[in-house]
């Protein structure tokens, strides 16, 4: 099972949203991490055939994205979606099942099963317009699974889910990732930390980092420091280093930052986490140091 993305580019007028990205994905869960505007959604839309690339190719097991067989193996959850006004959750799933080419009796079975999976069984016959954001999101996840897709693309799937639902979702995705390619995008670091086997960090239309959690953290391992300093030192540090976290305490300022060498006397090196890497790359106040 292989998803090949070859020099995929999308240019809108004079802005390049996705810049010559090449990737090969196999079974497992891939986390696409990056801030808003980095091109994540544009990339995902091109992978799903919803947007046509300016150049480049997407192929799943040799099947080009423009073909029906590609869509047959695809399950997609867009960042935002609507619904026909009178539809209930059950109707919605049946309708999409028919679009995915599932026959009616199997569609009914699958719809019931999936509603159970995302804990929407008790509201299956209620109209979607009565749903909360989190419920609608869960319905979206359910529809992506209707055709048992080999390629699952989820754009910000945990948006609107409460912590308990998030945990359930993570468990579900981990299970699903065993036999298929799951690509999920998020700007919530903890989602990706727990479930992705490979992390792709995206910035300005490019993949700036790719690898397993341990590998990519290696970049800043040993370079994350914490210290509590007076306000003058704090100002100096803030001006010269990428700051991950600031906390004002009674008489001192607590800082967590990235530096090649120990930035000040009282600084202590701490183990790096993904959040640090994220802030290091995407912090707009990054200044060149040393």
């Amino acid at each position: 099972m292989e998803l090949v993305i070859d020099r995929l580019t999308k240019q809108f007028k004079n802005k390049i949203a996705v810049d010559r990205i090449s990737l090969t994905l196999h079974e497992g869960v891939y986390g696409l991490l990056g801030p808003n505007g980095s091109g994540k959604t544009t990339l995902m839309r091109m992978i799903c055939g919803v947007l046509k690339p300016t150049s480049g190719e997407v192929k799943f097991n040799g099947i080009d994205v423009s073909r029906e067989e590609f869509r047959d193996a695809l399950g997609y959850l867009p960042q935002d979606f609507g619904y026909y006004p009178e539809f209930t959750a059950y109707d919605f799933l049946l309708y999409l099942a028919s679009l995915k080419g599932i026959n009616k009796s199997r569609a009914k079975e699958k719809a019931t099963e999936l509603l159970e999976l995302v804990s929407l069984s008790d509201v299956a016959k209620k109209k979607i317009r009565t749903f909360s954001g989190g419920m609608k999101q869960r319905l979206g996840i359910a529809q992506a699974l209707l055709n048992n897709p080999k390629l699952l693309v989820l754009d910000e799937p945990t948006a609107g889910l409460d912590p308990k639902e998030r945990v359930r979702f993570r468990n579900l995705i981990s299970r699903l990732g065993k036999d298929r390619i799951v690509l999920l995008s998020t700007h919530i670091v903890s989602d990706v930390e727990y479930i992705a086997s490979v992390i792709l960090m995206m910035k300005n239309g490019q993949i700036i980092h790719k690898g397993r959690l341990e590998e990519i953290i290696d970049v800043i391992e040993g370079k994350v420091f914490e210290c509590s300093v007076d306000s003058r030192t704090a100002e100096h540090l803030i001006a010269n280093y990428p700051i991950i976290n600031i906390r004002e305490e009674s008489d001192k300022t607590f800082l967590r930052l990235v530096a090649d060498k120990t930035p000040c006397e009282t600084a202590v090196a701490v183990p790096a986490v993904l959040e640090d890497l994220y802030m290091y790359y995407f912090n707009k106040e990054v200044k060149k140091c040393e």
Binding site: S105, R106, K108, E109, A111, T112, E113, E116
Partner: protein
């Protein structure tokens, strides 16, 4: 009237295992049952889906017997299920379970099958009647007979 795949897989597996007494073969037959079920051409009445599923399983088991013969030497019996328990509550549960299993295994096979379909797999009387190809009345009669036999046997054991 929809099939929960997760649930039904286990139940059909239980049924096939009852028939062939071998883990690997039971699972093969279970998977084949579902493949056949999903690829069926003519539309079956909604209410009869479950019965149809079991009928496929049943026929596959029969075919298996026909091909392999009933000789024990040709396929491997699994060991009896071992239950490990440490406290007295669980010990007595194990003993009860064991005694019931023993009692059941002494019944004629068709009655055993009925008990499995009704109590372990929780099928309705109509469905069982369809699967076993007997009348509802027969189903009731045989179930009661089975239960009575069991009670007699278990009473003798002191239960």
């Amino acid at each position: 009237m929809s099939l929960n795949l997760q649930d039904q897989y286990d139940k059909i597996y239980k049924y096939c295992y009852f028939k062939v007494k071998n883990k690997e073969i039971a699972e093969d037959l279970t998977q084949e049952t579902f493949l056949k079920y999903f690829n069926r051409k003519p539309r079956i009445n909604r209410g009869k889906n479950l019965a149809y599923l079991y009928t496929i399983a049943k026929n596959l088991c029969i075919d298996f017997y026909r091909e392999r013969g009933r000789s024990d030497a040709l396929y491997v019996h699994d060991d009896k299920v071992q239950l490990q328990s440490s406290n007295s509550d669980e010990v007595s549960k194990f003993e009860i379970n064991y005694a019931v299993r023993q009692a059941v295994s002494m019944l004629p096979v068709d009655l055993q099958e009925l008990l499995l379909l009704r109590y372990a797999n929780e099928l309705g009387i109509n469905e069982i009647a369809n699967i076993m190809n007997i009348s509802r009345f027969s189903v009731y009669r045989k179930l009661n007979k089975a239960l009575d036999l069991l009670k007699t046997v278990l009473r003798e054991e002191g239960f």
